[in-house]
């Protein structure tokens, strides 16, 4: 299997402050990778570098390479629009747009110029089903997405990303603003998606990482301490820092 996404010697600086200190990680197609680590370990920074969301922050310097299907995504000829369609992102706070549920999910396609109503209907339905929220919203697709609960909003946001059929889905603590029931619904949604999509999620919830992920990368102080199969990381970590963290001795 070839690597879908890989980073080599990735450094990120905010002004003088080095947030990421040379990250080498590879992601194969499919499965869920969890990025764990204490607050301030720069795992979110890493995630947001993968679809160039960090470009927006003033004073940020990024060195090293990130290759998506062997293409350097920081190369000048990279089309950001295409890149972000291939590498979608779900945020910590559910952020549906102030439109109807239907328009939220169809938004990416509509802006890309898709006008065929039947095709749009079909994509909206498939995406909402994949995101496991179809049954709850199918009868009020044309009501505002802001009227949904936080958990439903988050799943609509996942559907919105799925609608543009990305290769990779990045999730930045997708359940930390949600109640336990909504969180577990999101988790089972992700488990269903793991066969068709490559999922990379940042989480503060160690149980969540152990429940859903295939691989886990442990970040600390801007470095990857250890990356391995999730089972190995949680049962038999190679590094003492990892063991200390997952057994709750710090962090």
């Amino acid at each position: 299997m070839t690597n879908l996404l890989e980073t080599h010697d990735l450094h990120v600086y905010y002004g003088q402050n080095e947030a990421l200190k040379g990250i080498d990680l590879t992601f194969e197609e499919g499965g869920i990778t969890a990025l764990i680590g204490p607050s301030g370990s720069s795992k979110s920074t890493y995630l947001r570098t993968l679809n160039r969301m960090n470009d927006l922050i003033p004073n940020v310097t990024i060195t090293g390479t990130i290759k998506f299907r062997d293409q350097d995504i920081y190369a000048p000829q990279t089309d950001l629009v295409t890149l972000r369609k291939e590498i979608g992102m779900v945020f910590q706070q559910p952020n549906p747009f102030p439109f109807s549920i239907y328009d939220n999910v169809a938004f990416g396609l509509k802006l890309a110029g898709e006008k065929n109503r039947e095709y749009l209907d079909q994509v909206v339905e498939t995406s909402l089903k994949q995101a496991a929220v179809w049954d709850e919203v199918k009868d009020h697709l044309h009501e505002s997405a802001l009227s949904l609960s936080g958990g439903q909003q988050q799943r609509v946001c996942i559907a919105r990303v799925l609608a543009v059929s990305p290769q990779i889905i990045l999730l930045d603590e997708p359940t930390s603003a949600l109640d336990p029931i909504s969180s577990s619904q999101i988790e089972s949604t992700l488990l269903k998606l793991r066969t068709d999509y490559t999922i990379i999620t940042v989480t503060h919830n160690l149980q969540q990482a152990s429940r859903i992920s295939d691989r886990t990368a442990f970040f600390m102080n801007g470095e990857v301490i250890e990356v391995d199969d999730t089972k190995k990381i949680f049962m038999n970590p190679a590094r003492k820092e990892t063991e200390d963290y997952i057994s709750g001795r710090f962090g």
Binding site: L56, V81, K85, F91, N95, F97, P98, L111, S144, V164
Partner: protein
């Protein structure tokens, strides 16, 4: 004095202050409306003013006020929207943008009579527009732009950053995000700002005395060709507005029923401005509800 007593004194003082304001406002509104109501009639609202005899109306002035308002909005809204978007979405925080913001603040605190005299020199004299609706609309644009820009900027700033990130993460360009997500999300607040500033424009007199002029030539309401001088739509004709009319009657009106006309016109003006305010609340509230609760 213990804290309980001082708390009660504070509450009582605040109640007194608040009720004083309410009483003053109610008395003013009540006086204007009650003394104006007897003059109001369909005839009064639709017929032209008379200079020397009784029985004149405010029809042309009322039309002028609305036409001027619409023209001003057509000119100032796109500029204010563009400026607001630039300041909130694109501008970097540096000396230039803080200079722009300061300039806007200064512009908003200019006395309207100064804006009027400036408009007179620039548009009426220099550009040769004469006393006309167009000169008035440009002067009112200067008067309106700062506050409208500020209110649009604030409306955009109130849209959470998550919305911007959501748009960009979907592969939208920055401009697409602003156009398709941020502006629609801010629309209820923007609309409220527009309607409130409409109320301010509607009641403005000083800036118009020297720009839109103090005369209201007879209009032919069957002629809608904007190039004819007697057409209501002609932007180059002098156009006394309602607020200017009130000022004029009170300073040099010689018709026998000047007082009644002035009271009636004031009542119409106040009711219109009140209407704009209620409309702003209603529309903003409705739009907000439609966006949030389906």
């Amino acid at each position: 004095m213990n804290s309980k007593v001082s708390n009660q004194i504070a509450i009582a003082t605040l109640y007194v202050i608040a009720s004083t304001i309410v009483v003053i406002l109610a008395a003013l509104l009540g006086y204007i409306i009650i003394s104006g109501l007897p003059a109001l009639s369909w005839h009064f609202l639709t017929s032209p003013a008379k200079a020397f005899t009784a029985g004149g109306g405010i029809g042309i002035q009322l039309f002028n006020s609305f036409y001027l308002l619409i023209l001003t909005m057509i000119i100032s809204f796109p500029i204010a929207l563009g400026a607001g978007i630039y300041l909130n979405e694109y501008a970097k925080q540096n000396w230039l943008t803080s200079l722009v913001r300061t300039a806007i603040e200064i512009l908003s605190s200019l006395p309207s009579v100064v804006v009027g005299l400036f408009g007179f020199l620039v548009f009426v004299v220099q550009f040769g527009f004469g006393f006309s609706i167009l000169s008035g609309a440009f002067a009112l644009t200067f008067f309106n732009l700062p506050l409208l820009t500020r209110s649009i900027e604030e409306a955009l700033a109130a849209v959470p950053d998550e919305q911007r990130e959501g748009g960009l993460a979907l592969g939208l360009s920055k401009w697409e995000t602003v156009l398709h997500i941020i502006v629609p999300a801010a629309l209820p607040t923007i609309l409220t700002g527009v309607i409130l500033s409409a109320g301010r424009i509607f009641g403005e007199a000083a800036a118009l005395i020297f720009t839109a002029g103090q005369s209201a030539p007879a209009l032919n309401f069957t002629d809608w060709n904007p190039f004819n001088i007697s057409s209501p739509l002609n932007p180059m004709r002098p156009a006394e507005t309602l607020a200017v009319h009130i000022w004029k009657i009170n300073s040099e009106g010689i018709m026998p029923d000047a007082k009644a006309i002035s009271s009636g016109a004031s009542a119409v003006l106040v009711i219109s401005v009140l209407g704009f305010n209620l409309l702003a609340r209603f529309v903003g509230h409705r739009l907000f509800k439609r966006l949030t609760a389906g």
